[in-house]
């Protein structure tokens, strides 16, 4: 019987690996739902890398398993294998192909990052509108005994240059909604400068261009909404921003991703994406109620262990509500 040529096997294996890789790349189900403008961009990029990665893994792993089975030493077999020391074309091939792949991925990632708004933090005409009225006074008071409050003020005194900024479609425009986000052990405080609302949960309207001004009052925290595929550290003394458009109504977790102390794992709250009408209703209902409880679930569970008292909560909210230096 005539032997099947090796190239047919190689071709078949190539087709099978390609099909499996594409299938895995598009049906992995490893990512949570997409709820922001940035999420599909990140996911598509991840899918491409997973497709390439699966193909490479199958090829290398397949070769290893095949060689180990085929070239294993049989009982009683002595002597050495084929003395092949190198093969320049082959080595050039497997250096060039990964190099091309990573160059492609590098360029593509720059493009994705630009479309996410990553290259434009601080890009809008009115970025200083929410800075404290008296920046100099703030700086003069800054070196207080505790790091916490002064760093937040320092952060707010200058426009953010770090973070994820305006995506290309809203570049040069002021955001629809600005929320000041302060991280503290172990809570996020969301302040709406326009309406004076202070909340332990983030409420935003769907489809609107939202800018979060991140600051940290004590240690580094990291603001992460997995469904938005966005994460940005809130760093004491470094003003940062996170600008995005939520695309799907719903409630999503807000997670602190940077180790911030013993109860880091409990530093969780949620972002509620409303329809514009619901958001207006929420805003009307909450305007003027500055004493809304700080993330009730956390308070219920850990108030005792963390020593969070009602007075402390009130104090924090007062600071967050009106960050003018006189109140400190």
């Amino acid at each position: 019987m005539e032997q099947i040529p090796a190239s047919i096997w190689t071709l078949t294996a190539g087709v099978v690996v390609t099909l499996i890789s594409f299938w895995v790349g598009h049906h992995h189900g490893l990512l949570p739902e997409q709820a922001s403008e940035q999420a599909p961009l990140v996911d598509n990029f991840f899918d491409i890398m997973l497709t390439i990665g699966t193909a490479l893994f199958l090829v290398v792993q397949g070769a290893i398993i095949l060689f180990v089975i085929r070239y294993r030493r049989r009982a009683g077999e002595e002597g050495d294998g084929l003395p092949v020391e190198g093969n320049l074309p082959l080595e050039a091939f497997w250096t060039a192909i990964p190099a091309l792949i990573v160059i492609f991925l590098g360029i593509y990632s720059v493009d994705i990052f630009q479309r996410m708004g990553g290259l434009n933090p601080g890009d809008h005409a009115m970025h200083s509108m929410h800075a404290p009225k008296s920046g100099m006074a703030v700086v003069a008071q800054a070196p207080s005994k505790t790091t916490s409050d002064a760093t937040a003020l320092l952060a707010a005194a200058q426009p953010p240059e770090i973070g994820i900024g305006a995506s290309p479609d809203v570049q040069g425009k002021a955001p629809d909604l600005v929320v000041d986000v302060a991280g503290m052990q172990y809570a996020w405080i969301f302040t709406y400068p326009d309406s004076g609302i202070v909340s332990g949960e983030l409420h935003i309207p769907v489809g609107k261009d939202v800018q979060l001004n991140l600051s940290a009052r004590d240690v580094i925290h990291s603001f992460w909404v997995p469904q938005f595929r966005l994460k940005q550290d809130a760093i004491p003394g470094v003003p940062t921003e996170l600008r995005f458009k939520a695309t799907k109504v719903g409630t999503y977790p807000v997670v602190c991703a940077e180790l911030c102390g013993g109860y880091h794992g409990a530093m969780r709250t949620q972002v509620i994406v409303h329809t514009p009408e619901d958001f207006e209703t929420w805003r009307r209902q909450n305007q003027g109620i500055a004493t809304a409880p700080v993330i009730p679930s956390l308070r219920d569970r850990h108030i005792h262990e963390m020593g969070v008292t009602a007075e402390l909560v009130a104090q924090v909210e007062a600071i967050a509500h009106d960050p003018s230096p006189e109140k400190l």
Binding site: F113, Q227, P236
Partner: protein, 552 residues
């Protein structure tokens, strides 16, 4: 056929040297590189067990979503010290200090390291560092993670944090002293008959590792000393309310700590390049490509640190530059993997424990490397940074990579070190349990991270509980996998089958001396007559020899 042929002259007898070490020699300030190598390996392994127990405690805590097994602060102290011990007191000392010290002089035909006393000093900085770390638990334990970012590190458990810093400075000093020693030893002390292209690949890897450590470690030390000053002496290098900048610390820290992953993996790559050709009975495929890729990784590895800071206070251009530089590291790494796979082709592969661990490493490292590529790109990294996806990635490269490599090295060189063979059945059981445990523990973590579970948490969203339970079961399998290994080591060291000088038929110089090697390694220094991986090329060797004769 051995790489070296001993001259036929009557061996010199050296009556002033004892023939072997006694057990108590290993507890002294001994200057022999082999004693120091074994001191490093055994000490590191003890710390591996301690760090492993911490990991088991943490995984037990994580079996459920609530914080119900460990106090959250103790959990953080465990995670900080687990990371620190595994990196600074297990993988780095075992790979560089242990295998490096034991093998480099033997492989290059030297009687010892260039600076034997410095070598002993470098080792003896490690036990106090470990003691400091463990004693820090009396003061609450450092809780700011192995990265110890300020301001958290300047606020929590400050005494323990200071002890942590001092411990790292001690091991850092040890690493710098060791690096100087390796560079000088390899550069100046290889036998004159060994050309650079006959230098075993493990030595090339150690050269690259030492250069990297020498450049990067002082930067970590500087960063940590400033942190120590901030904690204890009222300075404000990293205090934002007094003009400091917390992000500077991150740059200083990662300038060392990203290269540290290459410090952990480059010597392992070297071990792989020794183990695979010996047991596949083939010349290593692409000797020069493997040697130069070590140097390439060493150079490019110095310019990738900011990928740990994509979500931190880094300007956009940096995120882009470091995305591309990070991705480029994949190329020399890929070259090594492909070369090892090609070495298997057409071999006569001996599937013993050493080879199984080497093959296991290749599989796991490929997976870890590929997830590393996804992490290197800013858009995806922003989503998965500081999540369990990262934990999964670095455990695939560090456990599936470094630890598998260390095991491969131990199974391969144990006969040389002790003169006795390890039991193969126990070795294979060890391998199977380790392989299952590693994948069961770390594979599901990819999903956890992508779906939204941050790392370094003692309590988490209950939706992640089922997957976490699988990881915890895996961790227990991994913990039990050590038992056959420990039994094997202890039993075989005393009662194992006598190995002979060269049980695997290796061609590098260490196999030309007795097992265990004499003090001062050889009675008469060997002469290199063929390459370190010339398996199966006797026929070609003859013609090459003739060419050389003509050249001379």
């Amino acid at each position: 056929m051995a790489q070296a042929q001993l001259p036929l002259d009557t061996p010199l007898s050296l009556p002033e040297h004892p023939k072997a070490w006694k057990w108590y020699d290993y507890f002294t300030f001994n200057v022999d590189h082999k004693v120091i190598g074994i001191q490093y390996l055994v000490t590191a392994f003890i710390f591996y067990l301690i760090g492993g127990l911490m990991a088991v405690a943490m995984r037990t805590e994580l079996a459920t979503a609530d914080s119900d097994f460990l106090d959250p602060n103790l959990y953080n102290a465990f995670l900080t010290n687990h990371g620190t011990i595994m990196i600074f007191l297990w993988v780095v000392p075992a790979a560089i200090g242990g295998f490096g010290n034991y093998l480099v002089p033997l492989m290059i035909g030297a009687r010892d390291m260039a600076f034997p006393r410095l070598n002993a000093l470098a080792f003896w900085l490690n036990p106090p560092a470990g003691a400091l770390l463990l004693a820090s638990f009396l003061f609450g334990g450092a809780q700011a993670g192995w990265t110890s970012y300020p301001p958290l590190s300047t606020m929590t458990a400050t005494t323990a944090q200071s002890m942590w810093i001092l411990a790292i400075i001690l091991v850092g000093t040890s690493s710098i002293l060791g690096s100087v020693n390796f560079i000088v030893t390899i550069w100046k002390m290889k036998v004159p008959s060994m050309r650079w292209n006959q230098l075993p690949l493990f030595c090339w890897a150690m050269l690259a590792t030492s250069l990297l450590a020498l450049v990067s470690t002082p930067v970590l030390a500087a960063g940590l000393i400033l942190l120590l000053f901030d904690i204890n002496f009222g300075t404000s290098f990293y205090k934002p309310d007094a003009g400091g900048n917390v992000v500077i610390y991150q740059h200083l820290f990662w300038f060392y700590s990203h290269p540290a992953v290459y410090l952990m993996i480059l010597p392992i790559f070297g071990i792989m390049s020794e183990v695979i050709p010996v047991h596949a009975r083939k010349p290593i495929f692409g000797y020069q490509a493997i040697a130069y890729s070590s140097l390439a990784i060493c150079c490019v590895g110095l310019f990738v640190w900011v990928h740990h800071m994509f979500t931190s206070g880094t300007p956009p251009w940096m995120r882009m530059f470091f995305t591309i530089s990070t991705l480029i590291v994949a190329v020399p790494t890929g070259v090594k993997i492909f070369s090892w796979v090609a070495t298997l082709w057409g071999g006569k592969i001996r599937l013993n424990s050493a080879m199984l661990f080497a093959i296991g490493l290749m599989s796991m490292f490929v997976l870890g490397g590929l997830s590393g590529v996804t992490l290197g790109t800013a858009p995806v990294d922003i989503h998965v940074h500081d999540t369990y996806y990262v934990v999964a990635h670095f455990h695939y490269v560090l456990f599936g990579g470094s630890v598998f490599g260390l095991y491969a090295g131990i199974y391969h060189w144990f006969p040389k070190m002790t003169g006795r063979l390890l039991d193969e059945r126990l070795g294979i059981l060890h391998f199977v349990l380790t392989l299952i445990g590693t994948n069961l523990t770390f594979l599901p973590m990819h999903e956890l991270g992508l779906k939204g579970m941050p790392r370094r948490v003692a309590m988490y969203d209950p939706q992640f509980e089922p997957v976490n339970l699988i990881c915890t079961i895996g961790a227990f399998v991994l913990a039990f996998s050590i038992i056959p290994f420990l039994i094997n080591i202890i039993w075989s060291w005393n009662k194992g089958k006598i190995a002979g000088d060269n049980p695997w038929g290796g061609l590098t110089l260490e196999w030309t001396t007795s097992s265990p090697p004499l003090i001062e390694n050889w009675e008469v220094l060997p002469v290199v007559t063929k390459g370190p991986y010339d398996y199966g090329i006797e026929r070609r060797q003859e013609s090459t020899d003739e060419d050389h004769d003509e050249e001379e």
